[in-house]
Structures are given as structure tokens and as C-alpha cells.
């Protein structure tokens, strides 16, 4: 090859991914901490108080990014699981499995913070409106995926069956997003729309976007760490894992 270029498929080899992810993880943690610190500072101290909802609205800076992440991560998980199934790519299946707990955690945070927001604004911790309910269903989908892949002992079958479940469930994610239009309920409309000027103050938007990027960095860091653990577990018989663990074993002995 005349011009050196990065070949991304190189990193599909678990050993190369392990090294790259190990190098990236500390940086991702640093970025996540920095962005979250700035975002929370702007959100809690700089952004103006809302005219109608008072200070209670400030949970939005955690609630909305978490809700976004919960939906995006499900699609990402289903996508990697499908790639792993269709092309028999081991690493893709491992990433899919590593994504599920983080996605479930963001779903739970979105529901929890939603309850904190709902109490002062609607006067109820929980209302059975379409968005809340479909977010709850999303949590069930994550739990179903995790329960299924852990119930199957054979890794190959677990990955494939999990991929099928994730893809079938992915049909549900668009329904969540468009449910606001499907059912007419008391949940407020989408916070940011692509084709209309943002209605919120620009500092609020800045804080929310910073928090979103912080959550992204956090998700990458955690998923990389978890994938590395899965790689070690599944490749424990490979020579490179043996070399990696031998010095530690000697010290312990």
C-alpha cells in the first residue's frame, strides 16, 4: 500500500481492541468528568430559573440526556448484536453484551429523574402516559436481553439469540420516540426539535449538550472497560491473554 491509512477492521481482532480500548479508557473518563463538571455547573448555577417550573426543571440536564442515551444505546446494542450475528464477528457480539447494562442504567436514571421532575410539576411521581410507559418497556427490553444472554450457557447461541431479541425489540424504539404524536397525553413535547428554533435559553441548551457528550464519553469508557473484561474471559485460552496474565500470576506466587 502506497499511502499508510488506518484500517479499522484491524481493531476487530480482540487483542488489538483490548490494547486500543485500554489506552483510550483513561482519556474517556477524563473527558466525561470534565464535560459533566462543566455541564452541571452551567446547568445548576448559570442557566436562568424557568418562568413556570422554577428550579425544579434543572433535573432536565440529567433527565433528557439519560433518556436520549437509553434509546440510542439500545439501537447501538441491537446494531452490534446484529453485526455479530450476521458476520460472525466475535467482538461485535461482545460489545453488544457490554452495552446492555449501561443502557439499562441510563433507562433507569431517566425514569428515576423523571419521577423527581414529575412530582413538583405534575404533582405525581408517576403517570401512565405514553412516554413514561414506553421508557419503562424499554427497561423491560434491556432486562429481557440481559436475562436471555445470561441464561444460555453456550456463548455462540447466547449471542445469536440475544441478537434476535435485540433486533425484535428495536422495533419498539421508534414507537417510543413517536409515541408523543401517537397518543395525546400530558407529557410535554420533545425538548429539542430539529426543524424549529430551540425554545429554551441558549445556556440551558449548552448545559444539556455538554451533559449529553459527558454521558457519551462515560458510556464509551464503561463499555470499553466491560468489553475488555469479556474479551479476557472469552479469549482466556488464547496465547496473548496467557502472556498478559503470566507476570501477574508470578508476582502472586
Amino acid at each position: 500500500m502506497a499511502t499508510p491509512s488506518i484500517r479499522f477492521f484491524n481493531f476487530a481482532a480482540p487483542s488489538r481492541f483490548y490494547a486500543l480500548a485500554g489506552w483510550l479508557t483513561p482519556w474517556l473518563w477524563a473527558i466525561a468528568a470534565l464535560l459533566a463538571g462543566t455541564g452541571l455547573y452551567i446547568g445548576f448555577f448559570v442557566a436562568p430559573t424557568d418562568a413556570t417550573q422554577g428550579d425544579a426543571y434543572r433535573i432536565i440536564f440529567i433527565h433528557v440526556p439519560a433518556a436520549w442515551m437509553s434509546m440510542v444505546l439500545y439501537l447501538v446494542m441491537a446494531g452490534w448484536a446484529a453485526v455479530g450475528w450476521a458476520f460472525n464477528a466475535r467482538l461485535a457480539s461482545m460489545v453488544a453484551r457490554a452495552l446492555a447494562p449501561t443502557g439499562a442504567m441510563f433507562t433507569f436514571i431517566a425514569l428515576w429523574t423523571g419521577a423527581f421532575w414529575g412530582k413538583p410539576t405534575w404533582g405525581a411521581w408517576w403517570v401512565w402516559d405514553a412516554r413514561l410507559t414506553s421508557e419503562l418497556i424499554l427497561l423491560f427490553l434491556y432486562l429481557g436481553y440481559m436475562a436471555l444472554v445470561t441464561a444460555i450457557d453456550d456463548t455462540r447461541r447466547a449471542d445469536q439469540a440475544g441478537a434476535l431479541v435485540a433486533v425484535v425489540g428495536a422495533v419498539n424504539v421508534p414507537i417510543i420516540y413517536f409515541s408523543v404524536k401517537w397518543w395525546n397525553t400530558l407529557h410535554q413535547g420533545a425538548s429539542i426539535s430539529m426543524n424549529a428554533a430551540p425554545k429554551m435559553a441558549s445556556t440551558m441548551l449548552t448545559a444539556m449538550l455538554l451533559m449529553t457528550f459527558a454521558f457519551w464519553a462515560y458510556a464509551f469508557a464503561v463499555v470499553f472497560t466491560r468489553t475488555r473484561a469479556i474479551v479476557l474471559e472469552r479469549e482466556r485460552d488464547a496465547a496473548w491473554v496467557g502472556e498478559l496474565t503470566r507476570p501477574v500470576a508470578r508476582v502472586a506466587a
Binding site: I137, F140, L141, L143, G144, A147, L148, A151, I152, R156, R157, Q160, A161, L164, V165, V168, G169, N172, I175
Partner: protein, 222 residues
């Protein structure tokens, strides 16, 4: 219609006919579960009328999920499932036939007995008719989705609970439109929108669930 399709259905129906009590268990579950609600909620006809569509639909849903764990398990245990899949017939045809047989054995009796429980919950005649109609459209959806769950959890520990966790979220649209249609009729509105959406869901499920079930079966028996 292919011969294999008919053969699978007749075989399952014959098996059900030979084990009549076993085949009627889901129906008994439906009856017992639905009867618990008046005992728990109270006997006021006004309350019962309000909760009836949802209660009867949820009981039908749970009854379908509980009865489906044996759909593939028996055939898997004695090896006949592998023979069916190796026979060269399309897996989705077998999955469709199994789901149809399951619906004929458990779904159809539920549809037929539902009016009786409608009367016990003091529903109006129009409400009972709509309940029967929505169950007629909705129970095939439940059987198809339950078949997918049964194929996914084939041979696993605690497969029954796992199946419920996997499939119930997917059944929620059918529940919403099915029970919602009855509620609409009971409150004097038209249920045409609900029926259309339920019909659309049925078509969607008939098209997508059998291929997914076939894929799940080939994963499970690989």
C-alpha cells in the same frame, strides 16, 4: 397449502385431543385468574364494568404465555423438532403451523368463553361483542409472539419466566388496542380505529414473527 403445514397442524391437534385435560388447562387458568379480580377488587358492578376489558385481556395474555412453554419443548425433547427442521420444509412454515395449532387449541377457546366472563363482569352486549372481536383478532398475535418466545427459550433453565419477560413487552400494543377498543365501545365511541390498528398488528406479526421464530429455532437446535 403445503402438506407439511397441514401435517404439523393435524399432529398438534391430535396430540391435544389425546391429552384433553392438559389442553384445557389454559382455559381453566383464564377462568380462575379472571374470577380472582372481583374477589380482590370488590363486587360493585360499576367497578367491575370499568376493569373488565383490561382484566379479561390481561388474563388471556397470561394464559397464552403460560401454555406456550410446551409448544416446542416436547418436540425438542423427543427429537421430532430436529426432524421437522431437517425435512427440507421452510422453517417459517413450521413456525407458522405450530403457532396456528397453538391458537386453535388455546386461543380460540378463550375467544369463545370470553362472552361468558363478559356477562359475569356485567358488560353491555355491545361491549361483549367487541371483546370477542378484539380477542379474535388479538389472540393470534399473542400465539405468534409466544411461539417466538418459546423458540428463543427452548431448553433453558427457568424458561417459563424468561419467556414472559421477553414476550410481554412485545404484546403491549395488542393489549392497548384490544382492551382500548372495548373501552371505547363501552363509553359509546367508535372502535374502528382500534380494530384497524389491531388488524395491522396482526398482519405485521404474521409476516415477521414466523421468520424470527424459524431463526430462533435454528439457533436453538444448532
Amino acid at each position: 397449502m403445503s402438506r407439511a403445514f397441514k401435517a404439523v397442524i393435524t399432529r398438534d391437534l391430535r396430540l391435544a385431543a389425546r391429552r384433553r385435560v392438559e389442553a384445557l388447562l389454559p382455559l381453566a387458568f383464564f377462568g380462575v385468574a379472571a374470577s380472582l379480580f372481583p374477589l380482590g377488587v370488590g363486587p360493585e358492578p360499576q367497578t367491575l364494568r370499568i376493569i373488565a376489558p383490561g382484566v379479561l385481556w390481561v388474563c388471556a395474555l397470561l394464559s397464552t404465555m403460560l401454555s406456550v412453554t410446551q409448544l416446542y419443548a416436547g418436540d425438542h425433547a423427543d427429537g421430532s423438532l430436529e426432524q421437522m427442521l431437517l425435512s427440507g420444509e421452510a422453517g417459517l412454515l413450521i413456525a407458522l403451523a405450530k403457532a396456528l395449532a397453538h391458537w386453535l387449541v388455546t386461543g380460540l377457546p378463550l375467544v369463545l368463553i370470553a362472552p361468558l366472563f363478559g356477562l359475569m363482569f356485567d358488560m353491555s352486549v355491545a361491549g361483549i361483542a367487541m371483546l370477542t372481536l378484539t380477542l379474535l383478532l388479538g389472540t393470534p398475535i399473542l400465539s405468534l409472539l409466544a411461539g417466538l418466545g418459546a423458540a428463543l427459550t427452548l431448553g433453558l433453565r427457568s424458561s417459563a419466566v424468561l419467556l414472559i419477560l421477553l414476550v410481554l413487552p412485545l404484546c403491549i400494543p395488542a393489549l392497548i388496542f384490544g382492551a382500548g377498543g372495548v373501552v371505547a365501545v363501552e363509553s359509546g365511541l367508535s372502535a374502528r380505529g382500534h380494530l384497524s390498528l389491531l388488524g395491522a398488528l396482526l398482519i405485521f406479526t404474521v409476516l415477521l414473527a414466523p421468520p424470527a421464530t424459524a431463526a430462533a429455532l435454528s439457533i436453538a437446535t444448532e
